[in-house]
């Protein structure tokens, strides 16, 4: 089995120490950062993602794999910088103001990282102003908004308005999600996409990243 396959396997099994060790070996062997990233680390997450989608594994399995991936990325980072390898996209993510729910947001975060995105997680109860500031500072490709209450989902619309008012709306794609949110609501507030679940959010984000 090649080192890249070993990296992929170790990520799928969530074995962080092994992942770091195989990444280190691959670097020593002169494998490119791009190869290690795409055909090792992200390949492992992608294969596990398919198993998750087919109900063959649970979220905890994906989470420990994401931890292994993160450790592998830390090991790979210096080489990625020297070869100018960038993540496939950058996402600013948060649960809107007045809403403290974070499990759904964290699942989305995990799926995005597993698909090669850099994620700036603003946490919960995040104001429109904080989203605007984060977009100015980080220049993401995507802003992802989570809301779980019927009384907080309207904040997603406020954030879209705030981005527009600050001249940032055209620079980012806005994705919305959460139990009470619908495609119709997404259209109504002028967001770009509604994601029904974490896996779908990553798929949509990838489409946005490819077409940016």
């Amino acid at each position: 089995m090649s080192n890249l396959q070993l990296i992929s396997e170790s990520v799928q099994k969530g074995r962080a120490k092994e992942t770091v060790s195989y990444v280190s070996e691959a670097i020593k062997e002169g494998t490119s950062a791009s190869d290690i990233l795409n055909n090792g680390l992200l390949d492992g997450m992608s294969k596990l993602g398919i198993k998750f989608k087919n109900n063959e594994v649970y979220v905890p399995d994906v989470l420990v794999a994401a931890r292994a991936l993160t450790k592998g990325l830390e090991e790979l980072k210096p080489l990625m910088i020297s070869e100018d390898i960038k993540p496939i996209g950058k996402v600013v993510l948060g649960t809107v103001k007045g809403d403290l729910h974070d499990i759904g947001k964290n699942l989305v975060k995990m799926m995005l990282i597993g698909n090669g995105f850099e994620v700036i997680d603003l946490g919960v109860d995040v104001s429109a102003e904080s989203f605007v500031n984060a977009v100015k500072k980080n220049e993401p490709d995507i802003v992802a908004l989570s809301a779980l209450l019927t009384t907080t989902m309207s904040q997603q619309g406020e954030i879209v308005k705030a981005l527009t008012a600050n001249g940032l709306r055209e620079k980012v794609k806005v994705m919305v999600g959460g139990a009470p949110v619908t495609q119709a609501f997404c259209d109504e507030i002028g967001a770009d996409a509604y994601a029904a679940d974490a896996a779908t959010s990553a798929e949509i984000a990838k489409i946005f990243a490819i077409h940016k």
Binding site: Y58, P60, L63, V64, V124, L149, T150, D197
Partner: protein, 458 residues
């Protein structure tokens, strides 16, 4: 403080819906757990923002909801019901808003119950706002003060019963659920959760005693229902959610130890364990809560209910009327049927109870652990232990063993993935530290989101 070391129920013959060993009598004469099953209707606002400007409109909406329910109660000859208001976060952060909502609904219930002669009672459930980075401490500071102010204000403005879905330990439990980490789950529920329940419910009982209201109960919604929702989406094993459900009973029971009398709140299916141990009446929800979430326990949840609830429904228009009114009608008919069975004799009620249990319990471990026979069995074993931590560990181990045996007996369907996780959970519990102190020392460094000082742990 009351303590329990054995179940209140010995026999399955007494353990049935609408009858509790320690019924609750409300001011209007309504007896909950006294042989009549009543509906408990819960409702929430449609999509809208809550602020000072929208509050007048919000009060009108609550008035409209309560009026619709009262009219339907009259049309369907409902002898009595409970309405529950769960305040939304801004209504606890701004206690006067929650109090105004409570007063508005109470006034409608009073007006129509006088006019039509039915009994209508109000349960208020202030939203627990003790989360987020700006929380100073679990038991003092502005969040704590606002919650207690909401309780007291509502108790003086029409509420009959006080309840909460408290969140002590939730920040740790959220992560435990995501990783299916049973040690962390038990730490969150039996250490952090129990510590918080003791402090919180001592205060709520004081408010109830000083205002002539009933301290009713506290559900582990943010813990066990979160696990249930994730399990229903196939994110985590259903067996893990079932174990969490059982363990959560240990923390919910503390409200009763502190002086709460019931009815235990809906949306915490662990209420059946609280009833088995303490004998208080409980509210339950099942198929009636399909308006709020998928439920794998639609029928079995009603086996031991003393109030039959719908979880929550938005005030939106349906063909049959506004959604809370429609939902109330469904609850009323469920109660009517179950009361009819009871009126024909205890054997008929038990027959119906067992049909309700058998129809669900084979399909899902979460339903299996709500079977009255299983509830009584696990409760008896859990409550023998002295400490909350030991009760939680014992409850978890017994549950895992019962699920495995049920699978072997072909009385519960589990796939290979579930079986693998049952073994993993069992092994992890076996490896847990012997004492709460050891567990706490082990867990604190592992819980990134826990601020130990907010629980006086350091």
């Amino acid at each position: 403080m009351r303590t329990f070391n054995k179940t209140t129920y010995d026999s399955l013959e007494d353990f049935v819906y609408s009858k509790a060993k320690n019924p609750v009598i409300l001011k209007n004469g309504m007896v909950i757990g006294g042989g009549m099953l009543y509906p408990e209707i819960n409702f929430t606002l449609p999509t809208m923002t809550i602020n000072k400007e929208t509050m007048p409109q919000i009060l009108e909406i609550y008035k409209e909801i309560a009026t619709g329910i009262c009219q339907r109660a009259h049309e369907l000859y409902v002898p009595g019901f409970v309405a529950e208001i769960e305040t939304l976060p801004p209504m606890t952060f701004n206690p006067q808003w929650g109090i105004d909502v409570c007063r508005t609904v109470a006034d409608v219930l009073n007006e129509y119950s006088t006019k039509y002669g039915f009994m209508a009672s109000l349960r208020i459930t202030p939203n627990d706002i003790r989360e987020g980075n700006d929380l100073e401490h679990m038991w003092h500071g502005s969040h704590w003060d606002s919650m207690l102010k909401t309780f007291e204000g509502c108790a003086r403005n029409g509420a009959d019963m006080l309840a909460i879905e408290s969140v002590g330990g939730k920040e740790v439990h959220d992560e435990a659920v995501m990783f299916c980490d049973i040690s962390k789950s038990i730490f969150a529920l039996s250490v952090l959760g129990c510590k918080d329940m003791s402090k919180l419910w001592t205060e709520i009982v004081k408010v109830a005693d000083s205002t002539g209201t009933i301290a009713s109960g506290d559900t582990a919604c943010g813990f066990a229902n979160t696990a249930m929702v994730l399990a229903d989406r196939n994110y985590i094993p259903k067996s893990f959610a079932a174990v969490v459900r059982v363990v959560s009973a240990i923390r919910s029971l503390i409200a009763i130890e502190c002086g709460a009398k019931g009815p235990h709140k809906d949306c915490g299916y662990e209420g059946v364990y609280v009833k088995a141990i303490s004998g208080i009446p409980i509210s339950m929800e099942g198929k009636s809560s399909a308006c709020a979430h998928l439920s794998p326990v639609g029928n079995v949840a009603s086996c031991l209910a003393d109030l039959w609830s719908n979880e929550s429904i938005q005030h939106i228009k349906l063909l049959g009327g506004m959604a809370p009114t429609v939902c109330f009608e469904q609850l009323a008919y469920d109660c009517r049927l179950m009361n009819e069975a009871s009126s024909k004799g205890n054997d008929k009620a038990l027959f119906l109870r067992d049909c309700l249990a058998d129809s669900d319990s084979i399909h899902d471990p979460q339903a299996y652990v709500l079977r009255p026979d299983v509830v009584l069995n696990i409760s008896k074993q859990m409550i023998k232990e002295e400490t909350y931590y030991d009760r939680a560990k014992r409850g978890a181990l017994v549950t895992v063993n019962i699920l495995r045996k049920a699978y072997d007996d072909k009385s519960l369907k589990l796939d290979d993935k579930e079986l693998e996780w049952i073994d993993r959970i069992y092994d992890e519990i076996e490896d847990m530290p012997k004492t709460e102190q050891e567990l706490t020392e082990l867990m604190i460094p592992q819980c990134e989101k826990l601020s130990p000082e907010k629980y006086d742990l350091v």
